[in-house]
């Protein structure tokens, strides 16, 4: 059983030369953004750094991946080397192979580091390859902006970056489930409508106070209208209350969810081409627990072989 333990692996000069072979001398690791300076003779040609020192939050499949990256002065990458990783997938070791690491040499920082377009991926280890590309992209851009920043003219004339335009409204459309209902909420206006209605009735009755027969008929009509309005509000409240009740663990067992979908297949199951741009609102009943029964034979086999355990739990009780 291999336990991953790779936090304290040391980096030697051979690693730095593998990453930046054009350099003749390297400095000591130092600085707020820790890095090594690379010199050719007396001239600085670039820097080397480790990605987890700058952004330790990028992770692979099961833990962070440490990568040594070399950056030239003209904002291109000289090479990378994967120092350590903690992946437990069988295909993930191929990150350390030469063909995968040599893809990054000579790349400009402004290119999109996308697996499938720029970079060749690895079957069976998509997450690891993607995280390597992400780490190199992010940290290289940070370091280049700090050490070798562009002048203003260069930015606007030779920019190759892909800028994603983001707006919160666009995100709300793309998100499939609408949980911020900022539309017309009648519960806030119910009181106002009722008070307005009562004042109207009082005004009308005041004007008709002399003819008592007509008053009587109008009064009955107003009462009927009141009852209708109150029932309407009650019904609407019952529909909305599912989204506004306090938590009650015992009941209900199902809850409703609003989903904006586009129908993707016929009733028979054939896939539909997306010709219509309309969306539908569907109320779906989702079972909250009892999500699927187990295959008893499979699980008992796995318990025997040792992949699962069959130990009894401490806190439960029998129920009729």
């Amino acid at each position: 059983m291999l336990l991953p333990f790779t936090l304290w692996s040391k980096i030697t000069e051979n690693d730095l030369r593998y990453v930046m072979p054009a350099a003749t001398a390297f400095s000591v690791k130092y600085g707020k953004y820790p890095h090594w300076n690379a010199y050719k003779g007396n001239e600085l040609i670039g820097i080397c750094y480790i990605t987890t020192d700058i952004d330790p939050t990028i992770k692979g499949y099961a833990g962070p991946i440490k990568i040594l990256v070399g950056l030239y002065k003209n904002r291109t990458i000289s090479g990378i080397k994967v120092i350590s990783h903690t992946e437990n997938i069988p295909q993930a070791y191929r990150i350390t192979e030469d063909w995968f690491q040599l893809q990054f040499t000579g790349k400009d920082i402004a290119e999109p580091f996308i697996v499938g377009k720029d970079i060749q991926g690895i079957t069976g280890a998509t997450v690891s390859a993607k995280s390597v590309a992400l780490a190199v992209k992010k940290t290289a851009r940070i370091m280049a902006d700090y050490f070798f920043p562009l002048k203003r003219k260069e930015v606007f004339t030779e920019s190759k970056t892909e800028t994603q335009k983001f707006s919160p409204k666009q995100a709300e459309k793309e998100i499939s489930i609408s949980y911020t209902e900022k539309k017309f909420n009648p519960t806030q206006y119910m009181l106002v409508i009722l008070i307005f209605y009562i004042l109207l009735c009082i005004g009308i009755n005041f004007k008709l106070r002399k003819n008592k027969k007509i008053l009587f008929v109008v009064f009955l009509f107003e009462l009927l209208l009141l009852i209708v309005i109150l029932k309407f509000f009650k019904n609407y409240k019952n529909k909305v209350s599912i989204f506004s009740t306090s938590y009650n663990p015992g009941h209900p067992q199902y809850f409703k969810e609003k989903i904006l979908t586009q129908p993707s297949s016929d009733i028979s199951g054939k896939p539909l081409k997306s010709t219509s741009t309309k969306t539908e609102e569907i109320l779906i009943l989702k079972p909250k627990w009892g999500i699927g029964k187990i295959n008893k034979k499979d699980i008992e086999k796995q318990i025997k072989s040792g992949n699962l355990s069959g130990k009894e739990a401490y806190n439960y009780r029998e129920v009729k």
Binding site: T180, I294, L308, K311, Y316
Partner: protein, 333 residues
């Protein structure tokens, strides 16, 4: 008709027929007994620095031997470890480590603490309980990192053997908890109150997501609740959101909102407020609540300065600081 069983671990209180598994995917009704499929079978084993959990007030710069299994009783849409928490143990390979072997390995790697993290330790409750008893006998600390969705009775049993805990207060409205996390808020507030009473070092994290969790008014309400019901000495962590799992359309949070949230929390009166997942100037330093000087300065997972006496007091003014500190800093790693 076979026997029915009700699990009493978390507020969902699933009632299970024969061969049915609960909402956590890990507890099953087999032949009338409730069985956990995951006792002694972790899926992720790693050695981490303690600042990653994040726990800042227990032995900074120590190592933690962290363990996780598959399964979780919530299903948050922004989960970082969704490959671990939203998959089933019978469709994947597991390691096999008994509680004895866990403690033995932690000693072999010179770790001062064992952390139950990555996925949800509430779901492998029996495993944590047994290892924490053995770890306490061998003078190793226990760290509990979870969302806090658990009933009070099993929590009180566990809290006797815990040394530190980090609990996620993901939001402060019932709607957010129901729609984004598929859980509820009240049980989480109860767990915070219980852990504050026991002898456990409590730290609270809040993940700030743009357009969902962004409102500074609710953040102020949350800080006021913490100040009144728990106390000002419990540290608060505001961490940055990166697009994951089912929320890949949203951007990462801008650093300005985190800084504003930290200002709001400090104005309310909390002593220790931190910012995580980002490099900021003072986001990871602890300031003394009395003399306002920098006591512990951190940069990522490294500790740059450490100015606390072995009795747990500030080096400059002598104020006692909440936490468990080193007696001989520098000799142990």
């Amino acid at each position: 008709m076979g026997k029915r069983v009700q699990c009493l671990l978390c507020p969902f209180k699933c009632i299970l027929d024969e061969n049915q598994r609960g909402i956590c995917q890990v507890r099953v009704n087999l032949n009338g007994k409730l069985v956990s499929l995951v006792y002694g079978k972790p899926a992720a084993v790693h050695v981490d620095p303690i600042e990653k959990k994040p726990i800042f007030h227990l032995l900074p710069s120590a190592k933690a031997f962290s363990i996780a299994t598959f399964g979780c009783n919530l299903g948050c849409k922004f989960c970082q470890n969704w490959q671990l928490s939203q998959s089933k143990p019978d469709e994947n390979k597991n390691y096999s480590l008994n509680p004895d072997e866990v403690v033995r390995l932690a000693k072999h790697y010179n770790c001062k603490s064992i952390a139950y993290t990555y996925s949800e330790p509430v779901v492998f409750y029996e495993y944590t309980y047994d290892t924490s008893i053995i770890a306490r006998k061998n003078k190793i600390k226990n760290i509990f990192v979870s969302a806090g969705f658990i009933n009070p009775k099993p929590l009180r049993k566990l809290a006797k053997y815990l040394d530190a805990a980090n609990i996620d207060l993901k939001g402060f409205t019932e709607e957010y908890y129901r729609n984004v996390c598929f859980g509820a808020l009240k049980p989480v507030l109860k767990t915070l109150e219980i852990l504050a009473e026991e002898n456990v070092i409590l730290e609270i994290t809040n993940l700030i997501i743009p357009t969902l969790n962004d409102d500074l008014k609710t953040i102020k309400k949350m800080c006021k609740w913490i100040y009144r019901n728990l106390g000002p000495q419990f540290p608060l962590h505001f961490s940055r959101f990166f697009p994951m799992y089912k929320l890949r359309n949203l951007p990462p949070t801008p650093v300005g909102t985190l800084i504003n949230a930290r200002k709001v929390a400090l104005d309310v009166g909390l002593y220790f407020v931190y910012i995580g997942n980002v490099y900021t100037e003072d986001g990871e330093t602890t300031f003394c609540p009395n003399c306002h000087r920098k006591i512990v300065v951190r940069y990522g997972y490294n500790v740059m300065k450490y100015n606390i006496t072995p009795q747990g007091k500030c080096k400059y003014c002598g104020e006692k600081i909440y936490g468990v500190w080193w007696k001989e800093y520098g000799k142990t790693i």
